[in-house]
């Protein structure tokens, strides 16, 4: 019997109120795209990986339509800051602050996020 060598996995973790929640392995993310994660309180987060290898997370619900779709939007950058464009009506949200770049009065929640060895 052979024992497989221990594999180190890097997990993507979201910072919730008091703890880090592991949502998936970092490998699961494609640069430039997002995935949706279900949070313990029933909310959803949209998690993204950018070209530089940084992970970002904002609330998955598009405030303009109410649909949980931001994870399916395209990642972009403007002036060096990453954003996601809603796949429905194309409004852009800054991934670090959650602020809508096309409407100052609208924003989504941004989550602290990290990639950590598990």
């Amino acid at each position: 019997m052979t024992i497989a060598p221990e594999k180190t996995t890097v997990m993507v973790q979201l910072g919730l109120d008091d703890a880090w929640l592991s949502v998936c392995e970092l490998d699961r993310l494609t640069p430039g795209r997002g995935v949706a994660a279900l949070l313990p309180d029933g909310r959803q987060a949209a998690v993204f990986l950018d070209r530089a290898g940084r992970v970002h997370a904002v609330d998955n619900t598009d405030p303009f339509t109410g649909a949980a779709v931001l994870s399916r939007g395209l990642l972009g950058s403007a002036l060096g800051r990453p954003f996601v464009a809603s796949p429905l009506l194309k409004q852009r949200f800054d991934l670090e602050t959650g602020r809508c770049l096309d409407d100052d009065t609208v924003s989504v929640r941004a989550y602290a996020v990290r990639a950590a060895q598990a």
């Binding site: 430039g32 303009f64 339509t65 109410g66 949980a68 990642l75 972009g76 464009a85």
Partner: protein
Amino acid sequence: MATDTAGTAQPTLVLVGHGMVGQRFLEAAAERGLTGTHRVVVLCEEPRPAYDRVHLTSYFSGTTPDELSMTDPEFIDKHGIELYVGDPAVVVDRDARVVHARSGLKVAYDTLVLATGSYPFVPPVPGKDATGCFVYRTIEDLYAIEDYAKNNATVGAVVGGGLLGLEAAGALQGLGLATHIVEFAPRLMPVQVDEGGGAALLKTISDMKIDVHTGVGTQEIVTDDASGAVRGMKLSDGSELATDLVVFSAGVRPRDQLARDMGLSVGERGGITVDERCRTSDPDVFAIGECALAADGRVYGLVAPGYEMALTAAAAIAEESTEASFTGADLSTKLKLLGVDVASFGDAHGATAGCLDVVYSDSRSGTYKKLVIGSEGELLGGILVGDAEAYGTLRALTGTVPPVAPEALVLPAGAGAPAQLGPDALPADAVICSCHNVTKGEICEHTSLPEVKKCTKAGTGCGSCVKLIGQLLPKSGDGGLCGCFGHTRQELYEIVRVKRVTAFAQLLDEHGREAARGGEGCEICKPAVGSIIASLAPSIGADGYVLDGEQAALQDTNDHFLANLQKNGSYSVVPRIPGGEITPDKLIVIGEVARDFGLYTKITGGQRIDLFGARVDQLPMIWTRLVDAGFESGHAYGKSLRTVKSCVGQTWCRYGVQDSVRMAIDLELRYRGLRSPHKLKSAVSGCARECAEAQSKDFGVIATANGWNLYVGGNGGMTPRHADLLAQDLSDAELIRLIDRFLMFYIRTADRLERTAAWLDRIDGGLDHVRDVVVHDSLGICDELEALMRAHVAHYRDEWAETLDDPERLSRFVSFVNAPDTPDPTVRFVPERDQIKPELPLIPLEGLAVR
């Protein structure tokens, strides 16, 4: 019936005749407040209000009478104009100042405006009234010709080789008749062009298989003894021409009978005599347009002088102090007759003493250009046949000494012409739109074509100046695709093609704007570049599968999940049903899948079936069932070929002349999966009845007795556009080769999200340029375009079948990355009409900005 004098408090203005000039008069009257101070009554003889007679012939290429209409019912209502359609004035009692209409209506007038237009001149030859003889003036004339041609004629002859005669000949040819033109003068269009221009025109028109007989008169229309219908005509050279139909188009005469009956002064050769303010011999009666004999002793048969008279009369009636007057007009014209550009302007025939000519003539290509130059070097006028590109600039320069030598203005580019004179060279007071007399200076105060049209009316008459206006307007931004790329889509396409770039990041880092390099790109350039790479994939060595590698990150969500995202986050699924043909068994499978997954079903406009309400995690299961039953992706989610719609065609339909269903299936299977700047729609109709609506498609095919006609650049949607005829009577192979070239040329040169309709309107040279490139291979790229399409066809794979075969690719179809078995609880439905509809969260949508 009592005389109708409703609203006696206000003076009454009666307009007799509601053609283009009549309508322009009403607009001018409204602008001057006359509709507020007067009761305005219009008597219109034709069964429809004013329409665009200049573009009458476009009826035969699909423009409907509604589209030709120039009358906005809202305008008529808003200004309280009383418009009586189909009720001409028959008698005017000048003593009682009352107009009697045919219906018995009597209207008392204070001011009367006659805009009765003209009637077609029919030479007094025996048999001229026989069955099968027509004139070419109204929509009703067109209906009659079309009807008769379909049932009774295979050969048609037009008497008159002038402007309208050529239009009529084009119409007859379009109706499928072998067509003759009989012109008494020694050349075609004798009024507009000289001998050289006539020769160039003759060459081109003869090449179109229209038989031209010049220098002969019509002596008699020969009729069939039994039926009385036309069967031929006797010509002045003793020959006889067999024909089933005759259209008289030998000029027009002013309709001045009403004025004569009223006792108004008319000219010796007809036309109601008017002064410089368009007043007739009765100061309360005005005459405008083609019925009037202007103060310079001429009757004008063009719309622009008519419009000017309309403005003059309105100003005179409004007692404007500005001395608007009509003392004569420029007879400049630019026309496209049978696809040939013909223009003449200024002193086209060189009547000025001491003038000289500069002539360029190439009878091989049917091009003829002549400029008339005055003794001081000033441009006096000219004639352009075959290539009237420079018309707008030249006409505007008339009367001035051009800034470059005149020969440079007529030589083709590359033939020693030192400089092409652009619109920048025009002075601010150069008249750009001669229909509405709008100068360059007035146009340059605006920034967009719609704005120019709205504020100045420029470009809304004959339309010949629209291109020049476009060149005068500022270009928006720096022309770059987005904030990340300073290049246009076309430039990026060339970079990707030539440098064989297969990765977005590489393109961005090497060719992006400085500030954007190393970044992520954006939602505009990523899908655009993804589409370019996908279109070129087989030729540049990229993977054509849109879900793989870096390309996966470029696609909009619809392409990413191979389905169409709907408003509540669910997707719709559209299996391909080529040509709209489907077996009962497959239909049942679609029904079963929809039932089993609880999907909402709807028939689409493209003859297939849309299944709505699928959650992202259901897509693979749904497609497993569909692929097993032999379906493949319909690419409803892609900027790619959607459907090729068809009518049932020759196989079943008693009118069909070709197998439209087979052709639609062939085309759909050939171009399926082809990524393009925007979606592509197509249709094939089995006969000219056009049940498949091919003329509203990006490329549409209509069967003829001899093959297929190909139309391009059609569009429905927000800005409907009828497709333009690109080529006629093509064999199957010719048709496919031409579509291959057309599509690849479009993909290569269009902007992002630019449909073929907008592209054709935008691209320099328009349809003619595209025809030159794809039919005549003027750029020498057709082999390459065909090779690109062959590569596409050879490498096509069904995206859904490939996805289902690959667990890696399937892994993205999950609701939550950390809870793949939990369906998204926010995707909910409620029942409606025995199906489902999305249950939406309440989100206030008003005031939200949508980019």
